[in-house]
């Protein structure tokens, strides 16, 4: 198995690609480089957005890492996040305003539950029908996204007058208090920090976590050791979906205050990249998330400042995904194959 050096090489390659693109294609290489490296930390607003994204990616990254660590692949983060946002908004619109913060918690819980259901569905399909969860999570997510798009503007949720494609706003009573205004940061995303500790301890220092990692290392051996392999496929996928759903719900109640089309686009994919950089260890998820959030904010700044004509984020996302997986030898490949 390649070690941290491989991961660094992959990140270096992606970063090199970024700088090369900026220098070769940007109209003003120096300005572009400055915007890229200085932009994300140049003001309180920028810091707020950076921290917000880093913490959200910590959540989705934790979710992806949990599933990967158990040898199950959750590639449906995009749809789980989006659906979590929808569930949180729908519940927030229904609850009585008088509930206040309690209502916020219930709405967040609905987001978690929605993501969890979507993730656990793939886990169940795996256990029941032996359908590869890698493919079902992705496809369920891919079909969920247009459905959420349709629902958000449909009857009950749609906003009458808005330039953006979005839903009605959630009642202000349920909004999460903002931090470093007018940035996207809010109190809610701070929950990512204790969750890192919880899952860090759970995965690395408990018997449950040991069995989970054993599943990831060698499913046949885990079965031989008497571990319920079905349960350990279902639970990590469910938890993973739940964490994604939480991220979506936080985005809606903390930053957007409504369901805006595509508001969580990229959180799922970046979460996967985070988990791969962190090598599925919850403790490493936070720094990996900060790194990716920086890359994303940097490419946004470059585009916003007119230093580059085209949205770079998608290119980075793709390059990192390609190179990171290329360097990262998955535990599942260490499983014994038929006499090969």
């Amino acid at each position: 198995m390649t070690s941290g050096a491989g991961t660094l090489a992959a990140l270096g390659l992606a970063l090199l690609l970024a700088v090369a693109l900026l220098v070769v294609l940007g109209p003003n290489p120096l300005g572009a480089l400055r915007a890229f490296f200085w932009g994300p930390v140049s003001s309180g607003l920028a810091w707020g957005n950076l921290l917000n994204e880093a913490l959200l990616l910590t959540l989705t990254g934790l979710g992806a890492a949990l599933a990967f660590g158990a040898g199950t692949f959750n590639l449906g983060g995009e749809g789980q996040t989006y659906t979590g946002g929808l569930a949180a908004l729908a519940v927030a619109l229904v609850l009585p305003i008088a509930w206040g913060p309690r209502g916020t918690l219930v709405a967040l819980g609905a987001g978690v539950a929605a993501g969890m259901l979507l993730g656990a569905l793939s886990g169940w399909l795996k256990v029941r029908f032996d359908a590869d969860e890698m493919i079902t999570t992705f496809l369920l997510s891919a079909s969920a996204v247009p459905l959420v798009d349709a629902v958000m503007t449909g009857p009950g949720l749609g906003a009458a007058e808005s330039m953006l494609i979005q839903s009605r706003p959630a009642p202000e009573a349920f909004w999460l208090p903002g931090l470093l205004a007018p940035s996207n940061l809010h109190l809610g995303v701070l929950i990512a920090l204790p969750l890192v500790v919880v899952f860090g301890v759970l995965v690395n220092h408990t018997a449950w976590g040991y069995r989970l990692r054993l599943m990831g290392r060698n499913r046949e051996f885990a079965r031989y050791a008497g571990i319920s392999t079905g349960l350990y496929a279902l639970v990590p996928l469910g938890l993973s979906g739940g964490l994604h759903g939480l991220a979506g719900a936080l985005g809606v109640l903390g930053t957007q205050h409504a369901l805006v089309q595509g508001f969580s686009a990229g959180w799922g994919w970046n979460g996967i990249a985070v988990a791969l950089i962190a090598r599925t260890n919850p403790w490493s998820v936070l720094p990996a998330a900060v790194l990716l959030a920086f890359l994303d904010q940097a490419s946004r700044t470059v585009v916003l400042q007119g230093q580059f004509p085209f949205q770079l984020s998608a290119l980075f996302q793709a390059a990192i995904l390609f190179f990171i997986t290329a360097r990262f030898v998955f535990p599942r490949f260490l499983r014994p194959r038929s006499a090969s």
């Binding site: 029908f129 359908a131 349709a150 290329a326």
Partner: protein
């Protein structure tokens, strides 16, 4: 609307054949969606500058094969997970396409072609090509030594190793061929439509995988499956025209259908052959 929806069947069938070659070699190509888009853009750009349809198709095929080789490099040489590497490619190719179209034409949207797809006495040439490719796939895959080796690479790597045959090389060839067919499918799509539109593949790369499983990985059965899927596509277009269905459902339908078919085939496999249930499912690299 015709009984034989040529324009719907043709790209689907060609892409499904691409999926078939890779799946038979044991390296299911999931980047078809991106490769179709890339092929469409490559064809339209080439035609735009050369006004030659033949050249446009050749360039699309070449570029598609290149993307297949990139995927092979990632999964076979760098040992990346084939599914995640392919998804990376699926994100990369639309981003590149958008960037190229933006730099050359200043928009991310529509590039007009200014030519129509050729027709031979009522039958679209592309459809004939797709049928010829199906026949060719059947003949090569099941009646030549190379086809046999390729299928062996997909099912029994240890046997290949014991005979000193290069599994990796064959899988690389299969991925290149698969990418070429995916891009050709995209080129057919764009030329038939008369334009490149961002998001032109619209889930067809995934539907091609449905066709592959529905057709039980056999070329002519896959072709029949494509026809059935084209009919359902036609029906859903009609439904959309009636505005009785929310557009989200129609857009989500390809992936939803894929997942249902995928689960059904997985279930059938598990039920009818307990031995194969333990084998890695399709989409996994069998090394």
């Amino acid at each position: 609307m015709s009984v034989l929806p040529f324009e719907l069947v043709t790209p689907l069938l060609v892409a499904a054949l691409g999926a078939l070659w890779s799946e038979r070699a044991g390296v299911l190509n999931i980047a078809l969606e991106g490769q179709m888009l890339a092929g469409a853009l490559a064809a339209v750009l080439t035609y735009h500058f050369s006004a030659s349809l033949e050249l446009a198709l050749v360039v699309a095929i070449t570029f598609g094969a290149l993307t297949g080789l990139v995927l092979a490099w990632g999964t076979l040489d760098l040992k990346a997970d084939p599914f995640i590497a392919a998804l990376g490619l699926n994100l990369l190719l639309p981003a590149l396409a958008g960037w190229v179209s933006f730099s050359l034409f200043g928009n991310l949207g529509v590039i007009r072609l200014g030519t129509a797809a050729p027709v031979w006495s009522g039958v679209p040439v592309f459809f004939v090509i797709a049928l010829a490719l199906t026949a060719g796939t059947q003949a090569i895959l099941f009646h030549t030594p190379w086809g046999l080796r390729l299928r062996a690479a997909g099912t029994s790597a240890p046997l290949m190793a014991s005979r000193g045959l290069p599994t990796k090389g064959l899988q690389r060839q299969a991925l290149a061929l698969s990418g070429a067919l995916g891009a050709l499918a995209g080129a057919f799509l764009a030329v038939t439509l008369g334009a490149f539109v961002s998001g032109i593949s619209a889930g067809k790369g995934w539907i091609a995988l449905v066709a592959l499983y529905l057709g039980m990985r056999r070329p002519w059965a896959v072709a029949a499956a494509c026809l059935v899927l084209a009919w359902t596509d036609q029906a859903s277009n009609l439904l959309q025209g009636l505005r009785s269905l929310p557009s989200g459902l129609v857009l989500g339908l390809p992936s939803l259908l894929t997942v249902v078919v995928f689960v059904a085939t997985s279930a059938a496999k598990k039920r009818f052959s307990p031995e194969t249930a333990k084998r890695p499912s399709p989409g996994r690299n069998r090394r």
